[in-house]
């Protein structure tokens, strides 16, 4: 059973239309023939410049959107959650209410979700702000809420988009430690980050995406070294 991948992308290409002006379609290519496998218990890091297609790739993996070409296979019955920054909050609701909806959206029952809220509150260290509308939050506070409400739900595949890159140093360390605790067992993680130190610390494999194509695959050290070369050359 464990020889089967948890998540597999086969020849995945993706593009979409986005209007720049009226009567225009504007075709944007995001991913171009990407194939990769994530085994159970793997922690895969994805590096690439802004706009390289990393977030789209996570959304495809999570099944939020579907690719124009190619196939995405997830192990049958595997649950999946995408943690991303700032997104997914309803601004007029309090942190507590947002955490409740967030947990219920992951399939947690209302009773269990309500029971987990105090743990979320404690982890975020937001104090009384947890009861205030999210529109009053700073970006760091949003990141705390997003990370805590996502991490406390148990899923088979955790997709993390930049969540660990913001917030103050103390919370980053706490979040990193919490992540490392989760990574020991069967937890499968795909991790997008610009923080090279975190990638090296957490991931056992990494890929580099550039202009929608897979440029390199290997250990985080190797991939980051290759990724840095052309970035340095561009300067």
């Amino acid at each position: 059973m464990n020889d089967l991948p948890m998540l597999e992308l086969v020849g995945v290409s993706h593009h979409y239309m986005a209007r720049k002006s009226s009567f225009d379609h504007g075709l944007h290519h995001v991913l171009d023939n990407v194939s990769l496998r994530v085994m159970p218990g793997d922690t895969l890091g994805i590096v690439g410049r802004n706009g390289a297609g990393k977030t789209t790739m996570l959304r495809l993996m999570a099944g939020i959107i579907e690719p124009r070409q190619g196939v995405i296979r997830r192990r049958a019955g595997a649950s999946c959650a995408l943690l991303s920054l700032g997104l997914g909050f309803q601004d007029s609701l309090s942190g507590r209410d947002n955490a409740l909806i967030s947990a219920m959206l992951q399939g947690v029952s209302k009773r269990d979700a309500l029971a987990s809220l105090d743990a979320v509150r404690e982890f975020t260290e937001l104090g009384d702000s947890f009861e205030e509308p999210v529109k009053t939050y700073s970006s760091g506070m949003r990141a705390r809420l997003g990370f805590a409400s996502g991490l406390l739900t148990r899923v088979d595949i955790l997709l993390i988009d930049e969540v660990l890159s913001v917030g103050d140093a103390q919370f980053r360390d706490k979040a990193l430690a919490a992540m490392q605790q989760r990574l020991g067992g069967e937890q499968t993680v795909v991790f997008v980050s610009h923080a090279e130190g975190q990638l090296k610390a957490l991931c056992d494999r990494a890929v580099w995406i550039e202009q929608g194509q897979l440029r390199a695959e290997g250990t985080p050290e190797e991939v980051i070294a290759q990724y840095r070369q052309p970035v340095a050359a561009l300067r």
Partner: protein, 257 residues
């Protein structure tokens, strides 16, 4: 997601949104009944005071029609933008897209319960007494709800597909307000015209049914009500199927809009 999880989530989203909405306004929950009453007031000033409408008990006549119409129009307009307005959630979780319009409609349903209570209080104060015929209000309200769901699911889909549709939806609500007998009585028209208005416009039929039940003590045409209800149910089920089938297409449209 099981059906009961879906229903709990929809209801929770509606209740939390009501709470957040109330805390945003100084008058909070009072707006639930204040807003529909202000609509009635505007029409009252225009039609009773300025245009000197001769209809007996015009305020009660107006309230019976208008309060039900505002339920329909507000729910439809808010639900039609609900998926697009939840860009953050749509881009983060693969959830049934029908949750958003249905939660918005659920929110309207809670408000409407308070509005109907107010309407009953006004009717009692004006000397109208409930009779057994008032039991017909339940199926009429159910069909009214189904009509809202049917229209809203397709409207929400169309607005995600091409944003320009929201202009049509606002226009359509204004058109319906003038053609559904909100401030005029279809029964005052030439009998042939009365027949066509009540047959072709399900909303006009429902508003008339509310008035017939509460003001005249007359049961509505059961066969007509059943037909409107069945069509609305079928369209609503088709809407659910469309939103389900095109869930990822909708997500893509919303994310890239």
């Amino acid at each position: 997601m099981t059906l009961s999880q879906y229903a709990t989530l929809m209801d929770t989203m509606a209740r939390l949104s009501l709470k957040a909405d109330a805390s945003r306004y100084f008058f909070g929950y009072v707006w639930w009944v204040l807003e529909p009453l202000l609509y009635v007031l505007v029409f009252y000033v225009v039609f009773e005071l300025i245009l000197q409408n001769r209809k007996e008990d015009f305020v009660v006549f107006l309230m019976c029609g208008q309060l039900a119409f505002v339920w329909f129009s507000k729910s439809l307009n808010q639900a039609s933008r609900s998926i697009l307005g939840s860009k953050g959630l749509v881009g983060r979780v693969d959830i049934p897209k029908s949750l958003f319009p249905l939660a918005t409609i659920q929110e309207g349903l809670y408000k409407q319960a308070a509005v109907f209570l107010l309407l009953f209080a006004v009717l009692l104060a004006k000397g109208y007494t409930p009779s057994l015929v008032w039991g017909w209000l339940l199926p009429v309200m159910l069909v009214n709800y189904l009509l809202i769901v049917a229209c809203s699911l397709f409207a929400a889909y169309l607005v995600c597909w091409v944003f320009d549709f929201h202009v049509f939806i606002s226009m359509a609500t204004i058109f319906l307000m003038f053609t559904s007998g909100v401030f005029w009585d279809p029964r005052d028209l030439d009998p042939a015209m009365t027949y066509w208005v009540l047959t072709l416009n399900p909303l006009a039929f429902l508003l008339d049914a509310y008035r017939q039940i509460m003001l005249e003590g007359v049961a509505p045409n059961a066969a007509h009500l059943a037909i409107v209800g069945s069509i609305a149910l079928l369209v609503a089920l088709a809407g659910l199927a469309v939103l389900r089938r095109h869930s990822r297409f909708i997500a893509l449209r919303v994310i890239t809009s």
